[in-house]
């Protein structure tokens, strides 16, 4: 082939183009007037087109004629389309592409909430952050304690948020309320959450101002979302110092349904044999539980079932605080059933349905004895039962953009029973609780979103109904966003108070939050101010629970800072969370409004994670500080109620996650310990009922059961590749 023939080809093509050539040129910019390079410009369904240059400009020729559509696309922006008429006259286009507001990176309702999700860019944590945070033994709630707003309460389970008690935080799984999210209380030992973090793909922790869809939490809502269909069938095995768990996950051939069975056995006896505990265990904590879950993907949605069955027991004894060679014996067994069936899906292009039903059963058999040698001096043997049946349904109408309106209702029947041999007659409290709620997300502009909601809830036991407005707004400002939230929140008094005084009313909290948040380039900063007012808290005179009333009140205010940085150092990320809390409340038997025993004024968390690729390990260190908490010292004059403070709390946790393979299985080896430096940790004090020889009430510090808790475990994951079977069929 010679140069001549090449020339002929050129002329051939050129000749073709001579007929009618339209030059289409222009500029691609975003709404901030910044040029966009790399945008694809095309004539619809034609070869003709080009890519915008570094300065956003483009130019190309087309030999097509007539009415045509020009389409401009680029990652992260909405498609731009314009009709043009091609007739050999140059066309100039100035395209302003709008950022695609997806839930991934648009303005979002964020006041008060922390999200752990793999999907959303706005989430501040990843689900596995919960597993890899040092010192927390893979417990969801413990990991959330490293976020702003949470108190470091080590003697009672629960999330104590912004001057609220642990009971003021409600936990939801797939939108359904969890009645007993923690193992039943044991004196002075905080219990773990029942549910493994491995169950959930998303965690949303709200420390205030949350949605009208959620009720019965005065302070906080933790919503957990279970996994959708797994990518494959697999077997997981967890072997750890206290635990043996086997999970089999089966995905069908059509990949539209799965079933999962888990059996779990926990026993701390071997561990306690090696690491001595401060109390004498007569029955080491033992847990047997089974879980069953199923997923069915329908044409337009997903049906999920989750069932949980548990039996656990514990027994220990320790010296009685009154001395005189007395011993306290504590024993408890717990039976628990939790079951939910939920559906989430589209009814048609505009309507979405979320519905669920659930049932739970909880039975605690508690035995408390005071003995002198073999002589029984006193006992208390309560049997507490709870049955909760619930149903919830909500429909969402999608409006143009991301706007939507939601309308929903829920119903709960809650039956609580208690009886105790020789002391409490059989008492039953039955409540029919119903709520209706509506909420709308309005994108006023692409920079301003408002979520307006209202909730009405009625309790037959209290004979009372309440309206609560909830407002949340976010405005995109510079590279960040400013959010505010306001709302009223009502909660039924705790069951143990309702047993004694059935005539109580809803307790009430009002939240007001203002926050600034900026998530950019793997760095997150967040500052939040809050004010919370409590009304109608339950209070009663000392030692007279039967005279309870709703005369208590209080407030909490403060500022919280959060900084997360995944950028500055390679493979190293850390976050710092600081909370300043000023709170006073009069509730229970508090004679006046004081800082409650569970609230520290200052809390600081520094969480650091270093990934070492060479040795396939992640090292994590968490430092937690909390200033001293108030406690009641009966040796002080009456006006000094709750004036004493415990020593400050320091805790350094350490964790290694080592990734390896064992045979065909992928494995993660975990070693975790809290309180590396062995600091003294005091959560409060008990005082004796009678004075000693010096005329003082004897005290006893409430401290952890051991100086440190060690955890060693291995997580094995064995996949089954069914793809060959699919192909063969």
């Amino acid at each position: 082939m010679t140069g001549k023939s090449a020339l002929i080809i050129f002329l051939l093509f050129a000749g073709e183009h001579l007929h009618s050539q339209t030059i289409i040129s222009g500029l691609v910019k975003n709404s901030n007037n910044e040029p966009l390079s790399g945008a694809g410009i095309s004539l619809e369904n034609k070869y003709d087109g080009t890519t915008s240059a570094a300065d956003g400009t483009f130019s190309f020729n087309s030999s097509d004629t007539g009415q045509q559509k020009i389409i401009i696309t680029i990652l992260g922006y909405k498609k731009f389309a314009v009709e043009v008429l091609l007739r050999s006259k140059p066309i100039s286009i100035s395209a302003v592409l709008k950022e695609a507001i997806t839930e991934m990176d648009g303005v979002t309702v964020s006041a008060g909430s922390f999200e752990a999700s793999d999907k959303k860019r706005s989430s501040l944590l990843k689900p596995l952050d919960i597993l890899t945070t040092a010192g927390q033994q893979a417990d969801i709630v413990s990991a959330l304690k490293t976020l702003p707003g949470a108190q470091q309460v080590g003697e009672t389970e629960g999330l104590f948020i912004r001057g609220g008690t642990g009971n003021e935080t409600k936990i939801f799984i797939d939108g359904m309320m969890v009645t007993k999210p923690f193992f039943s209380s044991v004196p002075d030992i905080a219990q773990r959450g029942r549910f493994s973090p491995l169950l959930f793909k998303g965690t949303n922790f709200s420390s205030g101002g949350y949605s009208a869809q959620l009720g019965q939490g005065l302070s906080s809502a933790l919503t957990l979302e279970t996994h959708d269909l797994p990518a494959r069938s697999e077997t997981n095995l967890i072997v750890s110092s206290p635990q043996l768990t086997l999970t089999r996950q089966q995905l069908n051939k059509r990949k539209n349904a799965s079933a999962c069975v888990t059996v779990n056995y926990n026993n701390l006896q071997p561990y306690f044999n090696i690491i001595p505990q401060r109390v004498n265990y007569t029955k080491s904590p033992e847990i047997i539980n089974g879980e069953l879950s199923g997923r069915l993907k329908t044409k337009d949605g997903m049906l999920k079932y989750y069932g949980y069955l548990n039996y656990n027991s514990i027994g220990f004894d320790k010296p009685n605080i009154e001395g005189k060679n007395l011993r306290d014996y504590f024993g408890a067994t717990n039976k628990h059933v939790f079951s939910i069936l939920t559906y989430s899906g589209n009814l048609n292009a505009d309507w979405k349905l979320n519905a669920g039903t659930g049932f739970s059963y909880n039975k605690d058999n508690i035995s408390m004895h005071v003995k002198s040698g073999e002589n029984e001096l006193g006992y208390f043997l309560p049997r507490i039962t709870n049955y909760t049946t619930q149903a919830k349904i909500a429909v969402t109408r999608n409006l143009p953009g991301l706007n939507k309106v939601l309308l929903g209702t829920e119903y709960q029947q809650v039956i609580d029973k208690i009886d105790a041999k020789d002391s409490i007659p059989f008492i039953v409290r039955k409540d029919n609780y119903a709520a209706v709620f509506t909420e709308t997300d309005l994108y006023v502009t692409t920079h301003l979103v408002a979520r307006l909601g209202i909730r009405y809830e009625y309790s037959s036991l209290l004979g009372q109904g309440k309206f609560s407005p909830r407002i949340s707004m976010a405005y995109k400002w510079g590279g960040g966003q400013v959010s505010m939230a306001f709302g009223n929140f009502y909660q039924k008094p705790d069951a143990d108070l309702l047993f004694r005084t059935p005539g109580l009313q809803f307790t009430k909290a009002t939240h007001l939050l203002l926050s600034y948040q900026r998530i950019a380039d793997r760095q997150t900063v967040r500052i939040e101010l809050f004010y919370k007012k409590y009304n109608q808290l339950v209070t009663f005179p000392s030692f007279n629970l039967f005279k309870a009333s709703n005369d208590g009140k209080g407030y909490a205010k403060g500022i919280e800072l959060f900084w997360r940085d995944k950028k500055t150092f390679k493979n190293f990320n850390y976050w710092i969370a600081y909370s300043l809390l000023n709170t006073r409340r009069q509730y229970l038997d508090y004679p006046t409004k004081v800082q409650p025993s569970f609230a520290a004024s200052h809390t600081l968390n520094i969480v650091m994670k270093q990934w070492m690729e060479k040795i396939a390990s992640m090292f994590s260190i968490t430092y937690t500080y909390a200033s001293g908490r108030p406690y009641y010292n009966p040796n002080l004059p009456k006006q000094d109620f709750m004036k004493d403070r415990t020593i400050a709390y320091h805790n350094v946790g350490f964790q290694i996650n080592y990734l390896t393979t064992i045979g065909k299985a992928n494995a993660v080896l975990i070693f975790n310990t809290n309180n590396v430096f062995g600091n003294n940790q005091v959560f409060g004090y008990h005082f004796s009922a009678s004075k000693d020889v010096n005329g003082l009430y004897r005290n006893e510090a409430i401290i952890p059961m051991a100086r440190r808790f060690y955890f060693i475990g291995i997580y094995l994951s064995i996949g089954t590749d069914r793809r060959k079977e699919i192909i063969d069929n």
């Binding site: 090449a6 095309s42 070869y47 890519t51 190309f60 087309s62 396939a616 994951s717 590749d721 793809r723």
Partner: protein, 236 residues
């Protein structure tokens, strides 16, 4: 032919001489395919345009070039509707970008775009070894965002795609190349390292010796990368 002109403007490494050579070569193919009665004028235009862009892809290394190529392949895919190859190459461009992007936060959006293109390719061609291999490559790339979180399940998922790719076409060298590259950059403890990658890269190389792409626009990339990777493994 507008494609070609624009590409020449923005891609300075291609001289006028090269353009002429490309045109000449295209013309030859044009000529050859003329002999086949089934080949229509549209088909020829498709093949010539694909070949031209595939040549650029062979030497591409910057994100700008990959973006430009992906845009071009997307236009071809939209215009033609029935071929899987344009979508496959658009996905491949985004796959390479995801693999090389310095900001790890960009990996997911790039990989997601690659996934979208690949979805379109697989709708037009099922049981395709090249598509399965690329799926495996994209999942492996996503592991880099957060190995601690993603490795345990995603690496098995990716391996399943590569296994399928090998079964669909045992002579395809690319699943072996992708596997070897992942193994090479996976710590030894996690089942990786040069020792684990060595036999796999040899297998990729031996496949390259016998593998013949079906036609001029079928995937044939990877020999240079395989040789580079082999050199790297042998140096250890």
């Amino acid at each position: 032919m507008n494609d070609l002109q624009i590409i020449c403007h923005s891609h300075k490494t291609i001289t006028m001489k090269k353009v002429i050579i490309i045109l000449v070569v295209s013309f030859c193919l044009f000529d050859c395919s003329m002999a086949q009665p089934a080949a229509s004028a549209e088909e020829k235009k498709f093949i010539v345009t694909m070949e031209t862009n595939l040549r650029i892809l062979d030497t591409a290394s910057t994100a700008a070039t990959y973006t430009m190529l992906a845009n071009t392949f997307e236009r071809i895919g939209n215009a033609e509707k029935k071929y899987w190859q344009p979508w496959y190459y658009a996905a491949l461009c985004y796959g390479f970008m995801a693999m090389n992007v310095p900001d790890k936060a960009m990996i997911d959006p790039l990989a997601a775009k690659a996934g979208e293109y690949l979805e379109k390719a697989s709708l037009l061609s099922n049981n395709n070894s090249e598509i399965s291999a690329l799926q495996g490559m994209i999942i492996n790339t996503k592991i880099l965002v957060d190995p601690v979180t993603r490795w345990q399940t995603s690496s098995i998922e990716a391996a399943a795609f590569l296994k399928t790719a090998k079964e669909q076409n045992p002579l395809n060298p690319r699943p072996y190349l992708i596997e070897a590259r992942t193994k090479m950059f996976t710590p030894t403890a996690m089942g990786g390292g040069p020792e684990a990658a060595g036999p796999v890269i040899e297998k990729a190389l031996s496949n390259f010796k016998v593998f013949k792409p079906e036609n001029s626009i079928a995937p044939g990339w990877g020999l240079a990368q395989t040789k580079m990777l082999q050199a790297k493994i042998n140096r250890r």
